[in-house]
């Protein structure tokens, strides 16, 4: 069992929760943390039983950005891919459904991480933003690419150019987060979402995510073809036969992920 220092991993049978564990530093991302996220993601990637991964931060905050001293050191070493790029690429490569549970600060590298997830639930009082422009830098974890694809160009430009963070409610209105809940309601909201996802067919979830995300990067016609082919693949699965049977017999389906 690998021991991580800057993240905490809670493994259920089908859900893995990753908690960024540097609350004294706002869970700021270091090269070590990014490496641990990458290592964890790679181990989760092969596990078919895991359907959902939840990403969150310890101490009531998600992630306030890259660690400042780290940033200075990494710049000097002139790395091609900084820690944020490493961590977000590792998460984005996962087939499982990724949920970001956002409290407190979700800024810079933190927002990069959240954007690499599929669904985002925020607590009231959370702040989401890209302050990089205020110190002459650029998001490095895919933010300039994922943000416009998620909130639309106008809102993305405003966030990136002004560097001003949004409050949770504003983020919700833009579609940047899927739900906003009171802080005390965050755990329940997360559980409700996770429980619901776990009742869905594992392969259906994976292929639906693949079709929606990869298909969005193709022409519509190519995307429709991808969707069609993934469907024909699913038609060969036991779970699909079970899904139809269960519907006809008016009972909850029992999926096995094959």
């Amino acid at each position: 069992m690998v021991q991580y220092e800057s993240i905490r991993v809670d493994r259920g049978e089908r859900v893995v929760t990753v908690t960024l564990q540097r609350p004294e530093a706002g869970n700021r991302l270091t090269a070590q943390m990014a490496g641990e996220i990458e290592d964890l993601a790679q181990s989760v990637r092969g596990e078919e039983a895991v359907q959902v991964l939840v990403l969150r931060g310890a101490g009531g905050t998600f992630c306030a950005g890259e660690d400042v001293e780290e940033m200075a050191r990494e710049r000097e070493e002139n790395l091609w891919l900084g820690p944020t790029g490493v961590a977000t690429a590792a998460l984005a490569a996962l087939d499982q459904v990724l949920i970001a549970a956002i409290e407190g600060d979700c800024l810079g590298a933190g927002l990069d991480l959240a954007l690499a997830c599929d669904l985002r639930v925020a607590a009231e009082g959370a702040l989401l933003g890209f302050p990089e422009v205020t110190w002459g830098a650029l998001p490095e974890g895919g933010g300039t690419q994922r943000l416009p694809r998620i909130v639309g160009r106008g809102a993305a430009l405003e966030m990136l150019l002004l560097g001003r963070p949004l409050e949770a409610q504003e983020a919700f209105q833009l579609g940047l987060v899927n739900r906003v809940v009171p802080i005390e309601g965050l755990e329940d909201a997360l559980q409700e979402l996770v429980d619901l996802l776990l009742t869905r067919a594992p392969l259906g979830l994976r292929y639906a995510k693949e079709a929606a995300l990869r298909g969005s990067e193709m022409t519509l016609e190519q995307g429709l073809r991808l969707e069609g082919d993934l469907n024909f693949l699913l038609q060969t699965t036991e779970d699909r036969a079970e899904g139809v049977r269960a519907w006809i017999e008016r009972r909850p389906p029992l999926f096995h992920g094959r």
């Binding site: 669904l119 987060v177 869905r200 067919a201 392969l203 929606a212 429709l224 991808l226 969707e227 036969a241």
Partner: protein, 248 residues
């Protein structure tokens, strides 16, 4: 003059420049079966080929809903996935709907689920009545959307919303749909058809070449890098100008 053509599972009516297609299996909440796909292929072709038709209105028969999805009783009856795939692309009914150059309004009451919502997503504009309930529940059956929903949803609403509705697979309200931009209007039930009809009439009153060019610029352009999209728009605008000059 009104033309009415009965097919087995759809009704096709033409009144002036407006064609109305009604999904007509109300006892099955207009569930889409193979016969309906065949009937739709014919009526979509009629809409495409009839020069008098300038706008299409799509609706569902009966009180319970627009369309509750694909007919589950037909699942598992295809000879094999290989054959099913071949048939799917040879007679691409949804591709035909997507390719129509004429403007399409969907009038949605009650349930728009699965294939029902996917059909509505191929339309240009969607009007819903207040009690309408939407969803892409395929993932609850071990499937994923099979009539374009995984592609049209993220291109119609924002990605986070699209992923949520595809992955959760549960139902959402007309108000949620409006908030997401999935529908353009939500009206009381009795106002649904008049509102959709008025929208279709407005569209039908516009220059059909201009409407077709607008659709093409928006849909094709969305798949292109901006620079190429702008060039496409220029070509379409020039073609329109040439056409107008010729007619003047």
């Amino acid at each position: 003059m009104t033309l009415e053509l009965p097919f087995e599972t759809v009704l096709y009516e033409k009144a002036g420049p407006i064609a109305t297609i009604t999904l007509n299996r109300p006892r099955q909440i207009n569930a889409v079966n193979t016969q309906m796909r065949d009937d739709l292929y014919q009526v979509f072709s009629a809409v495409r080929d009839d020069p008098e038709v300038r706008a299409l209105l799509l609706r569902g028969a009966g009180e319970r809903g627009f369309c509750a999805g694909a007919d589950i009783t037909e699942f598992g009856t295809a000879p094999s996935p290989v054959v099913a795939r071949q048939v799917r692309w040879e007679r691409d009914v949804w591709g035909l709907l997507l390719s129509l150059r004429k403007p399409i309004v969907a009038a949605i009451h009650g349930y728009a689920l699965g294939a029902g919502l996917e059909i509505a997503l191929y339309c240009d504009l969607r009007v819903a009545s207040e009690e309408a309930r939407f969803g892409l529940p395929e993932v609850t059956l071990g499937m994923l959307p099979a009539a374009g929903g995984s592609q049209t949803a993220p291109r119609t609403v924002k990605r986070g919303h699209a992923l949520e509705l595809v992955l959760r697979g549960d139902f959402f309200s007309a108000q949620d749909a409006l908030r997401m931009g999935l529908v353009q209007r939500v009206v009381p039930r009795e106002a649904l058809l008049p509102t959709a009809q008025a929208l279709a009439e407005r569209l039908a009153s516009l220059d059909p070449e201009a409407v077709a060019a607008t659709k093409e610029a928006v849909y094709q352009g969305a798949d292109l890098p901006l620079e190429q999209g702008l060039a496409l728009e220029q070509r379409l605008a020039a073609r329109l100008r040439r056409g107008r000059n010729r007619d003047a």
